[in-house]
């Protein structure tokens, strides 16, 4: 009989340790940190461009934009008026991890911010496993995707606190059913805050901004 040595260690314990450090660092500065996740092309960057435009007068924001290749997203966020923007090019990896965030935060002046957005790599599987030290995950889905996506990727929808249904201006051009997607998402996670937006027409964005302002106010209280 071989000797069995009990270990009881989380596989991602090193990532979790770093994420804990990030969380403490952000908490001490009362920064709200949101980790944006979605499939590629749901509109994470568009939502952030709009958010920068609407809130940059009143909310001090920093943004970390992750991509497998190119700094295109980070450049878009800078063009939209983002002052504190750091790209992370993962060079193949399909998710951001806490180590990458630690490095990016070292290059940002987080003493002066209220809100940190982390735009994850477009992927609904791997980013679910990696804590980045955020307050919450926000998952995006767009009306050009299947309304059963929450059922296909339950882990991500379960771990998210809010869901943004984007591209609602394209409703009717696909079989996407708004009632069905809400029902699917809520069966996985009954506490999801749900927003319906169009970054093209601006529909629904005000309630998204109000929610962000509420998070910032709650953090300062």
């Amino acid at each position: 009989m071989a000797d069995r040595i009990s270990i009881e260690k989380k596989v991602l314990s090193e990532n979790d340790r770093l994420a804990g450090e990030i969380r403490a660092q952000l908490q001490a500065r009362r920064v709200v940190a949101l980790n944006l996740v979605s499939s590629p092309g749901s509109g994470k960057t568009s939502l952030l461009e709009k958010t920068i435009g609407a809130l940059s007068g009143t909310v001090r924001m920093a943004l970390i934009a992750g991509d497998v290749q190119t700094e295109n997203d980070a450049n878009r966020l800078k063009r939209a008026g983002g002052k504190l923007v750091r790209p992370i090019v993962t060079g193949g990896a399909c998710h951001l991890d806490a180590k990458m965030i630690t490095r990016a935060l070292g290059e940002l002046d987080i003493d002066s911010i209220d809100l940190l957005f982390i735009e994850n790599v477009g992927n609904l599987v791997c980013p679910a496993s990696y804590d980045l030290g955020e307050d919450m995950k926000v998952v995006l889905i767009s009306t050009t995707e299947g309304d059963d996506k929450p059922l296909k990727y339950p882990s991500m929808f379960r771990r998210s606190s809010a869901m943004v249904i984007n591209k609602i201006d394209l409703m009717g051009f696909s079989e996407f059913d708004l009632t069905q997607v809400r029902q699917n998402a809520l069966s996985i996670n009954g506490n999801l805050n749900i927003f319906e937006t169009s970054c093209r027409t601006g529909a629904g964005l005000d309630s998204w901004y109000d929610w962000l302002r509420g998070l910032i106010a709650a953090k300062r209280a």
Partner: protein, 147 residues
């Protein structure tokens, strides 16, 4: 005699460290470019390697894992990734013993513990969607077995 034994130990130690560095850095480059499970496998190799070093183990037979269904980790893909990675390393020949855990939750409204079949988190008793996951998010190394 003692000196030569010490030399031998130091030599083996050095080789091991070289392999560990070499293997883990090449794995990082691969990461989950290939698949999600490969990056998880790489974290397992790192953790097991560190445990072997700190416990003075020179080889390993089995690595016991507990994996919850909510982690999106496919056991067969993980096994394949792990076994491919450990070839020609101190972990060579070791295998993963995976205990798969179903998803369970407890209802915050009526207190019922239930199994979330197909990841549907609706209380079968009171139909509330407000609940807490109690099992299914595990991604843990539970034990090592020396050969």
């Amino acid at each position: 005699m003692v000196v030569s034994m010490l030399n031998q130990v130091t030599f083996e130690w050095g080789i091991k460290q070289f392999l560990i560095l070499h293997v883990t850095s090449s794995m990082r480059r691969l990461d989950c470019h290939v698949m999600h499970e490969l990056s998880i496998a790489s974290s397992i190799v790192e953790t097991v390697t560190a445990e072997m070093l700190s416990r003075g183990l020179t080889s390993i037979g089995k690595v016991g894992l507990r994996i919850g269904a909510l982690t999106n980790v496919d056991p067969e893909a993980l096994r394949f990734g792990y076994e491919t990675m450990v070839v020609d390393t101190p972990l060579a020949g070791s295998t993963l013993e995976i205990e798969s855990l179903l998803v369970k939750a407890v209802c915050r409204k009526c207190g019922l513990s239930f199994e979330a079949y197909d990841f549907i988190f609706i209380c079968p008793n009171c139909e509330s969607g407000d609940n807490e996951v109690t099992q299914g998010q595990e991604l843990e190394i539970s034990y090592l077995e020396a050969e």
